[in-house]
Symmetry: C2
Subunit: 253 residues, 2 copies
């Protein structure tokens, strides 16, 4: 589904003390961001908050008010520090209920693993009015209530849930990007980059420097929803690089 | 410097379209978080925002009002999309000025690289009243204005700036953590984890499941500012695991 006449945006709330302590390196920002691009939805803001109900409620409400979609990762497991369902229900002003299908699914999943207990049953709890997102990797499903989507924190489980959602969210025209790399200090071509961006409406140029093999270089990424604009800006930029005597590598270095 | 009688907190604003597009995988959350732990400062919240002045101002002001320190990464380079200094100056209500020491430093750095140009001179701009943070890796310094600290986005440059700040920020007692790993589904021991946490004040227990070699397991992390509390909670937890017939691995799996 696409509605190319406007920009669709999403907010993402990453929930977990383990990210804020540095113990766990987040991988979900990048994978959710890349997936959203393909759905024609732009990730507008991410907030990382601790396992604290008040802080989760605040972030969820701020980002769902400002965006078309609100995603969370983390805190939907069986242990006492998994409070995402409670916090999001509070944010939405709805009660927490046991989802019968989730309960049945967990009963089957744990049938040969000791059966349901109090902790496992926590994973059948959802904000009232939710539907389930299939989880191919482990027992507990993700949760969708309208434009609010709760996913696991473990990256490969998150990936499976994103896959189950592919093509199911309304979005706009995907952002198209093209990259060109150059062995140049970005500070030498800052003026050129600015000129090319200013000459093309509805186009952003990002400059991403790196240091490799003892040399500085940069990749320049041109983004727009219009392929013609990306192409025109890329032509201007590569002409400018060539005129100034720089070799460049289409696709990036 | 430590003031162990209260908790010191920091907010972090990650600035850059490239993180929100999924093009660049953030590494700064984890490295800033780990560094802050050692300084006795807790990372309370992270926000990732695009290269948009209004959005940066909003995030900077929200997180500096709520915390003792405010860090940013990204957007202090030479190109048109590097707008962090402008946005933070606007947030602080001070003008942007050229820092004479930064200018001198950049003049020396670029002396044999073509000299200063308009883009390179951008990296000498600071919010009025700032001091510089040394950058061992490349020319442009980081910026500190009171409790607001602006750092580079490229992770190894950020790391050098953090190193230069080590021991220079007032903080509290570092959070102490101990880990124990166990080949168990966390859902089997969720009740035990909750009981141990409830029996110990000022102590958090995190449960971090994994799937490896075809088996499920979890690491349990006990955190407190008091070593005795961590030790007592760890004793209770490992006793409980042993009583239930689980082997465990001190230090984590």
């Amino acid at each position: 589904m696409t509605s190319p006449d406007r920009i669709w945006t999403a907010g993402l709330v990453i929930i977990g003390d383990e990210i804020l302590s540095g113990r766990t390196h987040d991988k979900n920002i990048a994978q959710v961001a890349s997936w959203l691009q393909v759905q024609g939805i732009r990730l507008a803001e991410v907030r990382v908050v601790p396992d604290d109900e008040g802080r989760i409620v605040e972030a969820v409400n701020a980002l769902r008010a400002a965006n078309d979609y609100l995603f969370t990762t983390g805190g939907i497991g069986p242990t006492h520090d998994d409070i995402t369902v409670d916090a999001v229900s509070a944010a939405l002003g709805v009660p927490v209920v046991i989802h019968p299908e989730a309960r049945a699914l967990l009963e089957r999943y744990y049938a040969d693993k000791g059966g349901l207990n109090e902790g496992r049953l926590r994973m059948a709890r959802v904000p009232e009015g939710s539907e389930l997102i299939p989880n191919r990797m482990s027992g507990a499903p993700g949760i969708r209530r309208g434009n609010v989507i709760l996913m696991a924190g473990v990256p490969h489980i998150t990936a499976g849930m994103l896959d189950a959602l592919t093509g199911k969210l309304e979005g706009g025209a995907p952002l198209i990007s093209e990259t060109v790399g150059c062995w140049v200090a970005e500070s030498e071509v800052a003026g050129l980059l600015r000129e090319v961006e200013e000459a093309h409406d509805e186009c952003q140029i990002g400059s991403y420097p790196f240091f490799r093999d003892g040399k500085v270089g940069a990749n320049f990424v041109i983004r727009s929803t219009e392929r013609e604009i990306v192409q025109s800006a890329m032509d201007s930029l590569t002409d400018g690089l060539a005129t100034n005597g720089y070799d460049f590598t289409p696709g990036g270095i």
